[in-house]
Amino acid sequence: MRPFDYVRARDIAGAVAAAAEPGAAYLAAGTNLLDLMKGGVSRPTRLVDITRLPGLAAVTATQGGGLRIGALARNSDLAHDQAFARAYPAVAEALLSGASAQLRNAATAAGNVMQRTRCPYFADTASACNKRRPGAGCEARGGETRLSAVLGWSEHCIATHPSDFCVPLVALDAVVEIASPAGSREVPLEAFHLLPGDAPERETVLEPGELVTALRLPAEAAAFAGHSRYLKVRDRTSYAFAVVSAAAALRLDGPRIAEARLALGGVALKPWRARAAEAALAGREPDATAFRDAADAALAGATPSGDNGFKIELARRIVARALTLAAAGTPERLPALPASAFAPIPGAASP
C-alpha cells in the first residue's frame, strides 16, 4: 500500500503542530477523504487523526445566546437533537437531506464543511483539473457540465461545493472557529470557502496546519426558527447531491418581512449567500411577487458554465418555493423526506 504517516492527536495544539507540514491532512470520519485517497485524488503524506480530541464533539450554548457546534459533532446526532432542530430547523433539514443514513451517522460537522467537490473531472485522475494540479487546465469545461456552477465560476474551475449543511449555515451567519499554530481565529462561513478565480486549488481560507474546531451560530439565528426551510431538488430521493438547493429564513413583523435570509447550494464553489435577494425582500409582504423578485435578484449574475442553463431557471423556482415554504411556517415536525420537493406546496390548487 501507499505509505503515509498516521498521527493520533492528543490535543488541539498537538494536532495543529502535527499537521503543519506540507502534505498533511486531518482525518475525522473520513467519509470523503478516504474515498479520495483510494481513488488517488488525494495523496496526503500524513494523516492527523483528530477523532480522539477531547470535547470537540460537544454542542454547547454560547454566552451570547448562540450555539457552538463542535467540529466532531456527528451529522445525525446534530440533526436528531430536538432542541437543535427546533431552533435551527432549516439546518436540521439540510443535514438529514445529505448523503445516506450510514454516512450521516459517521460524518462530522467540520468534515461536512471541508468536503471536496463532486465534479467528475476532479474525481477522475486522468482528467485535467486545476484543483488537483494547479495550471493543468479544467477539463470539465466543454465536458459533462449538467451539474456545474452557474454563479461565481471562472474559466479555471466550474465545480460546485456539494454541502447541504453549509447552505442554511451561511444564511444564518455562521462563524467558523479555527485553531492556528499562532493561536486561534474565526472567520464568517460566508468568507470561509473561496471562489475559484485563478487559483481553484485554494478552496478555503485555512492556512497549513489550521484546524476547524467549531461552527458557531449567533444568537439572532434562532429568531428565524418559525419560518425556516431548506429545499433540495435532486435526481433521486436519497443519496444524491443537490441539482440546486436553497435555504430560506424569514423574520416577520406583522404582515411584512422584517428580515430575510437566503442561500443557495449546488450553484457555486461555495454555499451562496444571496444578499441582494435578502435586501429585495426586506419590508415587503411575503407574496409571490416579492419571492419572484427575490429569485431574480438572487440569480441576477448567473451564467451557464456549459450545458447547464436550466439550473438558473430551476434555481429561481427553488428560491421562490423555498421562500413560500418558509413564509408558510416551519412545520411542527420535520417532514418524512426532509428538504424534499415532495411536501405540500403552499397555496397550490388541490383537485
Partner: protein, 752 residues
C-alpha cells in the same frame, strides 16, 4: 457446512406450506445469506493465495505507450506484474470467434486499447493493498487516438445479425402503403441511454491450478459455456475446469459468459503458480463486462378511423464496439405485440470505442418496449382513445409477423385485472388533469410487457436410494432468482418426495450441465431436465412394483401409478399403494437412477409463438414548478404460464419493475464525448433507485396454462418486468404534465 455447492441449507427451517409446485416457499438459502454464511466467490481464500488487481486504460482508443513495471515490482509485497510482455500465451487467441456466445476478450495479448477501463496490466501481490498500490505505480502512459462516441458517430451500417443471430430487417406487408392509407399517423424518435452492469457483486474469480487441472470459485450464469471457453483459451480439457458458483450476487446477463477480467485472474494464477483472487473494482465495471448500448428508435404508426393500426414501422439505431458484434435487438417487440397488417423493423448501428455491449436484462425488449409503448401511447392520443382501449383494439390474436397462433396468451386478462386493481377507469383522457392534495401533478400510464418463452439445453440426474432419500444433481445457477428453492420444488413434486428428503445439488460444473441461467429460461429448461430425470426414477419404481405379485400395485401398469409423499399410489384407487423403501427393498435394489434433458421442442416451436405477457400500470407525481418526478405506484399483471413459487415470482416481477423505474427516470452512463471515458463510474453518481424511490409495488399473477411451451408449462419471469414498465412511466409523465419526453431517462431538467 463444508460444501455450499451441494448443500445450501445445513439446517433448513423455512416457513413451509408444502414443498411442491405452486407453494410459496421462502428461499432455502435465505438464512445463509442474511447471516453471511453463504460464501460468494470472493469470500474464498485458499492457502497461499495472492491478490490480483487490474490496471485499466484511461483512454478509449490508442495504445499503451509505457508502464512503470519496475516501480510496481519494487513495491513491497508485489509478486508479479502481468503485462503483454509476460502474460501467458493462450492456446486460442481471445479475438477468435466460435459459437454465437463467444465474444472477444482483452487478455493482455497486445498493447492496443479499444475502450476506457480496458485491463492493461495485472499486479499480483501478497496483499490486496500491495496489489492496489502496485497497479497505481504502473502509472500507464498512453498514445491516444480520437475516440468514436455517441450515436452520431460516422459509419452507420446495417449489421449482419442482431441479438443472437436474428435478422436486422423484418418486413411483413407494405408499411408505406399502410401509412399512406392511414387516416391518422404519428412519427416520433425516442432515445434510450447507455446502461452499465452494476450487480452488487462485481465480477470475481479465485483461481487455483494443479498442473492442468483448474479449480475456480467464480460467479457464472452458464457453467458449461464458461468451462468450454476457459478450456479453449488455455488448451486444456473442459473436464479439467472445475467451477463452483453456488451463489451469485446478481447476474442480469453480465455473468452469462466468462468475463475478460475473470480470465485474467486465471492467467495470473498460471503465471505465479499460486492461487489468485481477482475482484473487480466498481469503476472497472464500466467497460469490460458488457452493457446495454444506447438506442435511437424512430417509430411510424398509422391507424384507420376506428383506431386500428394500418402500419407499424420501427427503426432502431444502436451501437456495438469497434471490435465485436452485439446489437441490441430493439425491434423484436414490434413483431409480437400489436396486430398491424404491415410491420417493418430495421436495425442500423455505429461502432464506438466502448467495451462490447452484451446481454443486460431483457436485451432488446427493454429498450424496444420503452419506445414502442411510448409510440403506441402517442398514437392512442392522436386517435383520441384511451391507451388501454387502443391496445385492446389492436390486440394480436395471433403473432402478427409470423402469423403463428400463441401457445397461450392471457394478456387480455392481464389488462383487465391490472386495470381493475389500479383503478384505471377513472383516468381522464387529457393530460395535466390530476393533482394530489399537495398540489403535485399526477399522471397515469400503461405499458404492455412481453418476453419470449425460451428453452435452452440442460441435463439432470436423479437418484432414489433404498433409504427413501434422493439426490438430484444439476449444474443449475441461483443468481438470486431462487433456483435453490424453485428447482428443488420441481424435484420434490416430480419425485413425490418432501423437499427435505432430497439432497439437491446445483452450482457446480462437476454436476450435469444445467445450461445457462439466462433468457428467462432457466427454470423452464433446468426444470424440464429435473422433471425428466425424476420421471425415469418413478418409472423404474413403477416397473418394479407393478411387475411384482407381492406388491399392492401389481398389474397397475406404469401409467396406472402416481408418486406422492414417498409412496407409489394407484391412480384409480389411491388407497392402494406402497412406499419407495419397500419397493426397493423387495427388489433388492440399493438405488434407482434417472437422467433427464431439458430442450426446446422444435415441432411445438414451429407451430406456436411462445411469449409471456403483462400489463404495467404506473402512477407518477411531478412537481409542477421544479420538475422533480417520482413514480408513486406500480401495478403489474403478468401471465407467464405455470408458477412454481409465487413468492419468488413476485420478487422477480418487483425487481424487474424497479429496473423499469431506473430505466425511465434515472439510469444512464455519462460519457465524456472527447475522451470516451465514463464520468459517473460509481454508485453515488450512476443512479439506480434507492429504497425511497421504489413506489408501492403490486404484482398480480394471472393464471395461464400452456400445454405447448415445455413439459412443465413454464414461461420465464426474470426479464419481463423491466419491459412495459419504462414505457408506462414515460406515458404517465406525459399524462401528468402534457410534456412528451422522448429521451430516457426523463430527468427534471426536461420538464422545466
Amino acid at each position: 457446512m463444508t460444501d455450499t455447492a451441494s448443500r445450501p441449507d445445513p439446517a433448513p427451517r423455512p416457513l413451509r406450506q408444502g414443498s411442491s409446485i405452486g407453494q410459496p416457499l421462502t428461499r432455502r438459502d435465505g438464512v445463509l445469506k442474511v447471516t453471511g454464511a453463504a460464501r460468494y466467490a470472493a469470500d474464498h481464500s485458499p492457502p497461499g493465495m495472492l491478490h490480483a488487481v487490474m490496471a485499466v486504460s484511461r483512454i478509449a482508443r490508442g495504445r499503451v505507450a509505457h508502464l512503470d513495471v519496475a516501480a510496481a515490482e519494487a513495491h513491497p509485497g508485489v509478486v508479479a506484474v502481468m503485462t503483454p510482455r509476460n502474460a501467458p500465451r493462450l492456446a486460442r487467441h481471445p479475438d477468435e470467434k466460435g459459437d454465437p456466445f463467444t465474444f472477444r476478450l482483452d487478455l493482455l495479448q497486445d498493447d492496443r486499447v479499444r475502450y476506457a477501463n480496458q485491463p492493461v496490466a495485472v499486479v499480483v501481490a501478497e496483499t490486496l493493498e500491495a496489489a492496489t498500490e502496485g497497479a497505481a505505480l504502473l502509472a500507464p502512459r498512453f498514445e491516444a487516438e480520437p475516440p468514436a462516441t455517441g450515436l452520431d458517430a460516422d459509419g452507420r451500417f446495417v449489421p449482419g445479425a442482431i441479438g443472437i443471430g436474428d435478422p436486422p430487417d423484418v418486413v411483413k406487408g407494405d408499411v408505406e402503403a399502410g401509412l399512406a392509407a392511414a387516416s391518422r399517423r404519428i412519427e416520433a424518435t425516442y432515445e434510450t441511454a447507455a446502461q452499465y452492469h452494476n450487480a452488487l457483486e462485481p465480477h470475481a474469480v479465485v483461481a487455483s491450478w494443479d498442473g492442468d487441472r483448474l479449480s475456480l470459485e467464480m460467479p457464472s450464469q452458464g457453467l458449461a459455456m464458461a468451462q468450454g471457453r476457459i478450456a479453449g483459451l488455455f488448451g486444456i480439457d473442459p473436464g479439467d475446469v472445475h467451477i463452483r458458483s453456488p451463489f451469485l450476487g446478481g447476474g442480469f446477463g453480465s455473468k452469462g459468459m466468462v468475463a475478460g477480467p475473470q480470465v485474467l485472474g486465471i492467467m495470473a494464477a498460471r503465471l505465479v503458480g499460486r492461487p489468485v483472487k481477482l475482484v473487480m473494482r466498481r469503476e472497472q465495471m464500466f467497460g469490460p463486462v458488457g452493457h446495454r448500448a444506447p438506442t435511437r428508435q424512430t417509430l411510424r404508426l398509422g391507424t384507420d378511423e376506428a383506431g386500428a393500426l394500418t402500419a407499424l414501422d420501427h427503426h432502431s439505431l444502436t451501437a456495438s464496439s469497434t471490435f465485436d458484434d452485439f446489437f441490441e435487438p430493439s425491434g423484436g417487440v414490434s413483431h409480437t405485440l400489436y396486430a398491424a397488417p404491415a410491420i417493418a423493423t430495421r436495425h442500423e448501428a455505429v461502432r464506438l470505442d466502448t467495451g462490447t455491449p452484451l446481454f443486460m436484462r431483457a436485451p432488446g425488449e427493454a429498450s424496444g418496449s420503452a419506445a414502442l409503448e411510448s409510440a403506441v401511447d402517442e398514437m392512442a392520443q392522436a386517435c383520441g382513445m384511451d391507451p388501454l382501449a387502443f391496445r385492446l383494439r389492436n390486440y394480436a390474436e395471433a403473432e402478427p409477423v409470423s402469423g403463428k397462433p400463441f401457445s397461450s396468451k392471457a394478456l387480455r386478462e392481464c389488462y383487465a385485472q391490472g386495470a381493475e386493481r389500479f383503478g384505471w377507469s377513472a383516468r381522464p383522457l387529457a393530460p395535466r388533469q390530476m393533482r394530489d392534495e399537495a398540489g403535485l401533478l399526477v399522471g397515469w400510464g400503461l405499458g404492455t410487457a412481453t418476453f419470449p418463452a425460451l428453452m435452452f439445453q440442460a441435463q439432470a440426474r436423479a437418484e432414489l436410494r433404498a433409504s427413501g432419500d434422493a439426490t438430484v444433481e444439476i449444474g443449475a445457477i441461483d443468481m438470486g432468482q431462487g433456483a435453490w428453492t424453485s428447482l428443488a420444488q420441481i424435484a420434490a413434486e416430480e419425485l413425490g418426495l418432501d423437499i427435505d428428503r432430497i439432497d439437491f445439488r446445483i452450482g457446480s460444473s462437476d454436476l450435469p450441465d444445467g445450461g445457462i441461467a439466462g433468457g428467462s429460461a432457466h427454470t423452464a429448461t433446468a426444470g424440464a431436465a429435473i422433471h425428466g430425470a425424476a420421471a425415469q426414477v418413478v418409472a423404474q419404481l413403477a416397473a418394479l412394483a407393478t411387475a411384482d405379485p407381492a406388491s399392492p400395485l401389481y398389474g397397475a401398469g406404469n401409467a396406472g401409478v402416481v408418486a406422492r409423499g414417498g409412496r407409489l399410489l394407484r391412480r384409480d384407487d389411491e388407497g392402494r399403494g406402497e412406499d419407495f423403501v419397500a419397493i426397493l427393498a423387495r427388489a433388492g435394489r440399493g438405488a434407482v437412477e434417472g437422467r433427464g434433458t431439458g430442450a426446446p421442442d422444435p415441432a411445438a416451436r414451429d407451430a406456436y409463438a411462445m411469449h409471456a405477457h403483462g400489463a404495467v400500470f404506473a402512477e407518477v407525481k411531478v412537481d409542477p414548478d421544479l420538475g422533480q418526478i417520482r413514480a408513486t405506484r406500480l401495478v403489474g399483471a403478468f401471465a407467464a404460464g405455470r408458477i412454481i413459487n409465487p413468492r419468488l415470482v413476485r420478487s422477480q416481477y418487483y425487481g424487474g419493475m424497479i429496473w423499469g423505474v431506473s430505466f425511465a427516470l434515472q439510469e444512464q452512463a455519462v460519457m465524456d464525448p472527447r475522451s470516451g471515458r465514463p464520468m459517473n463510474a460509481n454508485l453515488a453518481e450512476y443512479h439506480v433507485p434507492v429504497n425511497a424511490d421504489v413506489p408501492s409495488l403490486e404484482a398480480i399473477l394471472v393464471e395461464e396454462a400452456d400445454p405447448h411451451v415445455n413439459p412443465l408449462g413454464i414461461k420465464g419471469v426474470g426479464e419481463i418486468g423491466v419491459t412495459g414498465t419504462a414505457g408506462a412511466i414515460a406515458n404517465a409523465v406525459w399524462h401528468a404534465t402534457g410534456i412528451r419526453v422522448r429521451s430516457l431517462p426523463i430527468t427534471l431538467d426536461r420538464l422545466l
